[in-house]
């Protein structure tokens, strides 16, 4: 128990150090000017608009006036608004405090999740290295990724312990954090159905178990649907968060193959970078499925494929490299490295991490 506690403390220290890398790097590159406000780039502005002014009544943003903040789900802005009420901080500082605080919680939950799967030492090594995974920058800036991944791994942890109602509660919160959260139902199905059959076989009370399952599945989307109802009342369109994507250049209905071919036909550095990210996401999902985590694999791959259906791959690197399957693959494989490769990899990652911070604060488009 004492050793466990020590590992938790060590992990927390490593996690804090990794976040300090972000803030120190940003501060040094910015020369203190506009710090920490330059950490708010791209979609951060949309979240701030929700925190400060609520959801838009009509599309208005961009020169064409055809975008609105509806695709940005409400849980993250609500929590930041609550922090703003409690503490004398502005929106950006509240969001930074929240995300970096919850990152520490996430690291502990991640460790607790992978610990039974790969063993204590490997879990520690893998999670410690993950703190410096360059894409974790998105867990420290005012985006909803930090909250999303924390809830996701918490839900997975509960699922593994067969605490389904707690898992569903986390899933409900997930579904109002990011639009991909609603696909958690895939993992729920994949884990609950074998459990259901086992329970039925043991207890032979089919009706009660099936009813319980029906309750879980029917309760899961309620919060998501509440957001849809809110949009319906506000805008007249319950699916406004999908439909508004057209304003962002995402037109639903393209075939994924057609999208990939067109990206190869009109190659640009950014789109090729996104394609590589996509393939990493797909391959890691296949690896996850091969390792009998079918629900997790499908859950990771579905948002990537759906993005391809819109013909626009902007943000693919973030979706892919912070997908469940890539995180698990990273921790599983990185933890197996020898000390030499582990240290060398860590050195490289910290360098890329620093570069990412520089790219981010300067608003480079491939960091979207």
């Amino acid at each position: 128990m004492k050793i466990m506690s020590n590992k938790y403390i060590l992990l927390l220290i490593i996690a804090v150090l990794s976040r300090l890398v972000i803030f120190f790097t940003a501060y040094i590159y910015l020369d203190g000017v506009n710090f920490p406000y330059s950490l708010c780039q791209w979609d951060c502005g949309w979240y701030l608009s929700i925190i400060n002014n609520g959801y838009d009544n009509v599309p208005h943003g961009y020169p064409e006036g055809n975008v609105a903040n509806w695709p940005f789900f409400p849980l993250f802005p609500i929590l930041i608004s609550v922090i703003k009420l409690i503490l004398p901080l502005n929106s950006i500082n509240s969001a930074l405090l929240f995300n970096n605080g919850i990152f520490l919680v996430f690291i502990i939950i991640l460790y607790q999740y992978v610990n039974p799967l790969i063993g204590e030492d490997n879990a520690f090594k893998g999670v410690a290295a993950f703190c410096f995974f360059p894409f974790t920058i998105y867990l420290s800036i005012p985006y909803s990724e930090s909250l999303y991944l924390t809830l996701l791994f918490l839900a997975l942890k509960y699922l593994n312990k067969h605490k389904y109602w707690k898992a569903v509660f986390c899933g409900m919160l997930l579904s109002v954090t990011r639009n991909g959260g609603v696909f958690f139902v895939i993992i729920l199905f994949s884990q609950y159905i074998p459990f259901l059959f086992k329970e039925i076989a043991e207890k032979k009370s089919i009706i009660k178990e099936v009813l319980n399952f029906a309750f879980l599945v029917l309760t899961f989307p309620v919060l998501f649907e509440l957001y849809c109802l809110y949009l319906y009342i506000k805008t007249g369109d319950a699916l406004a968060f999908i439909h508004i994507q057209r304003g962002y250049g995402r037109i639903v209905g393209k075939s994924p193959i057609e999208t990939i071919v067109s990206l190869y036909q009109n190659p640009e550095p950014y789109t090729l970078y996104c394609l590589i990210a996509l393939f990493v996401g797909i391959l890691s999902s296949i690896w996850i499925i091969k390792n009998k985590m079918i629900g997790i694999g499908i859950f990771s791959i579905v948002p990537l494929i759906l993005t391809l259906y819109t013909g626009n791959v902007a943000g693919m690197s973030r979706y892919s490299f912070l997908s469940l399957s890539v995180i698990i693959l990273f921790i599983f494989q990185y933890s197996k490295l020898s000390l030499l490769y582990y240290t060398f990899g860590l050195f490289c990652m910290i360098n890329v991490f620093i570069m990412f911070v520089y790219f981010w604060i300067n608003g480079y488009s491939y960091m979207i």
């Binding site: 009509v58 599309p59 208005h60 064409e64 006036g65 055809n66 009813l211 029906a214 309750f215 029917l218 309760t219 989307p221 309620v222 649907e225 849809c228 109802l229 319906y232 805008t235 007249g236 369109d237 319950a238 699916l239 406004a240 439909h243 508004i244 057209r246 304003g247 037109i251 209905g253």
Partner: protein, 202 residues
């Protein structure tokens, strides 16, 4: 027994809730322009949800360099020397007059249908603010059909919160390629040269 009943009631409530949300998904209560742009995808420009400012009597010119792109939100091909082809079943023109009119409107449309020996008829409907104001059946060889003057009641003109939406619905479109005439695969309706709305005293 009671416990089971509560279970079923709760299940029923949940099902009812989901059904209600499904109905909300299926029946958006939005403006025509929102529907056409965001949901249906049949118009290509959002234009901030309103038509471009228009003074009655101004000519909407569809010839190369003309001002039609200000008002056209979808369904047209690119401007050509003498006009612009409609190339989908529906075309959309959104106008926002400065003031409500107390007069009826004459809609002048100068357009040539895509007709030839292999495609001798073209049926179109001119729709203003969701009311069909004219049905035209163009026929090959018929004279005097290229300039249409369509009277529109001022109730129709003023019925759309200050916007005038002119739709032209063309049925049974074919492309020159389908008829074996050229490589052009656009399904052509009418070749519009100009449209004008002018107030007419009662």
């Amino acid at each position: 027994m009671n416990y089971n009943l509560k279970y079923y009631y709760a299940l029923f409530l949940l099902l009812f809730w989901h059904l209600y949300i499904l109905l909300c998904y299926a029946s958006p209560s939005v403006s025509d322009m929102y529907y056409q742009y965001y949901i249906n995808g049949s118009i290509q420009k959002w234009n901030r949800g309103v038509g471009s400012k228009y003074l009655f009597g101004d000519l909407i010119d569809f010839r190369k360099g003309g001002n039609s792109s200000l008002y056209v939100l979808g369904g047209f091909s690119g401007q050509e020397k003498k006009g612009t082809w409609t190339c989908s079943e529906y075309i959309y023109i959104y106008l926002r007059p400065n003031t409500e009119t107390k007069y009826d409107i004459n809609l002048y449309m100068s357009a040539v249908p895509f007709l030839n020996e292999k495609h001798q008829n073209q049926y179109i409907e001119v729709i203003v603010n969701e009311v069909i104001v004219k049905k035209i059946n163009y026929t090959l060889g018929e004279i005097g059909q290229n300039i249409q003057v369509i009277r529109v009641n001022n109730d129709i003109i003023n019925s759309n919160k200050g916007n005038i939406v002119v739709k032209i619905r063309a049925k049974g479109l074919v492309s020159p390629w389908e008829l074996g005439l050229s490589d052009d695969t656009r399904k052509l309706g009418v070749y519009v040269e100009s449209i004008m709305l002018k107030e007419v005293e009662k």
